[in-house]
Amino acid sequence: MPTTWNAYDCGRFYDELITPKGQPRVAARRAVNLLRNLSQEEVAARRAEAELAIKDMGITFTIYSEGKNIDRVWPFDIIPRVISAREWAQVSRGLAQRCRALNAFIDDIYNRQKILQSGIVPPEVILESGNYRPQCAGISPRFGVWAHICGSDLIRDADGRFYVLEDNLRVPSGVSYMLENREITKRVLPELFENYNILPVDDYPSRLYSTLASLSPRFGPRPCIVVLTPGIYNSAYFEHSFLARGMGAELVEGHDLFVGNDDCVYTRTVDGPERVDVIYRRIDDAYLDPEAFREDSVLGVPGLLRSWKAGNVAIANAPGSGVADDKVVYAFVPDMIRYYLREEPALASVKTYLCVNDNERDFVLENLDTLVVKPANESGGYGMLVGPHATKAQRKEFAGLIEANPRNYIAQPTLALSTAPTYIDHSVEPRHLDLRPFILSGKQSWVTPGGLTRVAMVKGSLVVNSSQGGGSKDTWIVEGSV
């Protein structure tokens, strides 16, 4: 007996695979038809196979956890999310444009601050932000690029359009899951790949390598690139090791590096010191260099910032990039695009109310039951208020928080996140999802075809974060009309 797709109803939301009339969308037609015709036993077998594959490939996620739950398996749904290449081209252009503007903005902030002087962005919003690093002023990294790796979160609203929800410019993670998800789908649904022209994603590590190599301060055939991890207890350690392996780069911890008297960075090896050209760091700014930032950091490398400022080593993302990774700054991105690039934004942003502005704050306080309130500087979906789902007491608590610290809060309309069919027990049900593509910027820029689709596995939930019960799906960009 086939699994029941007939009862599938996504309600008022936009569904990624199924039209309101219950038909598969064009790009997804073959995939849906094939899945629909699979028997329940067959579906169960494939799902079991996927689980096994995750265990095999990701012993790393699971086995870590004895006693202390250091890492967990991330639920994976085998039904892919399908997007047509034509639609994606538009999104991809918008993402690249956004990254260009964000990098121009960061470069401007640490140098001439034109955008502040021209009154487009209020100076206090930037200069008083915890993410602004005065230590970085006066630096202009190669190509004017600060955020070499950006992970932007997209959602699709009920109108079927993609919106950017936020840009992660510090140490965005998740790209390894994107690659693993594709591997798993190839294993468990190989017949789907026969009739589709699906854009490959597995060249990400080599693209990342080229991007990082283009930053090297020394000329030479093979620059020395290292991936700097906080260590094995970090939740993304698996990804750090995965990317290091994918690039043939050394995975290092802070203690493996030191800054010499010549202000160059070296690794400690059994053959003696070896000079490092590019550091792909997965450590937050604050811990990067105890001489420049937090003194108590044991993860970082004393003198690293000095070496970077002297131009002896490239750091990706550059220290200080986080200044543009702030939900208040987010509200100004469309203006930045117009200001720096003289272009209209190709991708929509979500209407954002800044609680720091009096009239907007009043509006937010009056409409707490319909809005989503977010702290400006928090990631992982923590410290949020989803108005329509909140209790009266919670709304009251947030009203207090906003009045106490308006700079720290923004509000947005509650979005109707799109859904996609997801196997839940023995049936297919709609679940909300978002999408995190990754944008690489160096000498050239590049956007992943698709990205990491995160799914809220709990019915009706809008929270897709892995730390809060989210799962993921493979994301396909398919060419040609099928």
Binding site: H255, D256, R268, V270, V298
Partner: protein, 310 residues
């Protein structure tokens, strides 16, 4: 190769070897005890004493009886020399260096760890002890085999070998200490079970057959000690281990200090007059020699591994 990675590989290899050698010795000793009449049977305390772990043991146990000692050697995670502790440490070191090892190595180390976690507690009593120890030995050997047959001969291989050989040399000296200690105890009993003891210790080194072929069928203490310390062809002899360590250290840069320590250890090994030595002499020599091995370990750490964190 990063110093940190070299260090972790070295310790991974040492801990794996320690687990295997502890299993070998425990197995041989169990057999020995079964062969000797109760009145003359050597005490179980010897197995703890040769690990220099009596203080730690006595903090948690009152008596050196069989079950207490075996629990301490096999399952106790508070005892750093136990099989279970060694394998936890080996696994932790391999987990963080998997990138430079053949993929199977991690899988087998992890499986061995899981097997031990599952079975160590239940294998303290005689009923299941043999099977468990056999498994530990066989799996350790499989891992060593994998490394020898699939790992490219680079720095990773060198540091693994040096760690393994140094631990093995150390364990072989401790096995001699078991022999001499048993005999010292035995003097109180006026019974001679010498050949049984030395035969079982040779067995623990998989060296009984070779001994018979090369030395002769009579197992006699001076000959055994000479054989396991100085035979150049026996893979678990101290001499053999030191020769191989020298071969592995040779291609490394900055190795002068470590080489000097190694050469002086080899000289003292060659010069020790076994024939005229009393049991006490042997005991003292072994103790001094173990200090030299520690010195070699310190020299390796200071030369190639990370400086201690400030």
């Amino acid at each position: 190769m990063l110093s940190r990675v070299a260090e972790r590989l070295y310790w991974a290899a040492r801990y794996l070897e320690r687990a295997e050698d502890t299993a070998r010795l425990t197995l041989a000793y169990t057999h020995l005890v079964m062969d000797i009449p109760d009145t003359a049977a050597p005490g179980w305390d010897i197995l703890v004493r040769i690990q220099d772990a009596s203080d730690n043991f006595l903090q948690r146990h009152r008596a050196f009886n069989e079950l207490n000692v075996l629990h301490f050697l096999i399952a106790d995670i508070e005892s750093p020399g136990s099989i279970q502790s060694s394998l936890i440490a080996a696994r932790e070191n391999v987990r963080t260096t998997r990138d430079v090892l053949p993929a199977d190595v991690w899988e087998h180390v992890n499986e061995l760890y899981l097997y031990t976690r599952e079975n160590a507690e239940g294998s303290v009593r005689r009923r299941r002890r043999q099977q468990f120890l056999d498994q530990v030995i066989a799996r350790c050997q499989m891992i060593t085999g994998l490394i020898i047959t699939t790992l490219c001969r680079d720095h990773a291989y060198r540091f693994i070998m040096v760690g393994q050989l140094l631990e093995r040399a150390d364990m072989t000296t401790r096995i001699i200490n078991v022999g001499t200690s048993v005999m010292l105890q035995e003097e109180r009993h006026y019974t001679t079970v010498d050949p049984l003891i030395w035969a079982s210790l040779l067995e623990s080194l998989s060296a009984m057959g070779t001994y018979r072929r090369t030395i002769g069928p009579l197992v006699e203490s001076a000959a055994v000690v000479d054989f396991v310390l100085r035979d150049p062809t026996l893979p678990r002899s101290v001499r053999f281990c030191l020769d191989l360590i020298r071969r592995e250290l040779h291609p490394l840069k900055n190795g002068d200090a470590a080489m000097r320590v190694l050469e002086s250890a080899k000289r003292s090994l060659a010069r020790f007059p076994i024939d005229g030595a009393s049991r006490d002499d042997m005991h003292r020599f072994i103790d001094r020699f173990q200090l030299r091995l520690q010195e070699l370990d310190q020299s390796i750490r200071a030369t190639w591994f990370l400086p201690p964190k400030p």
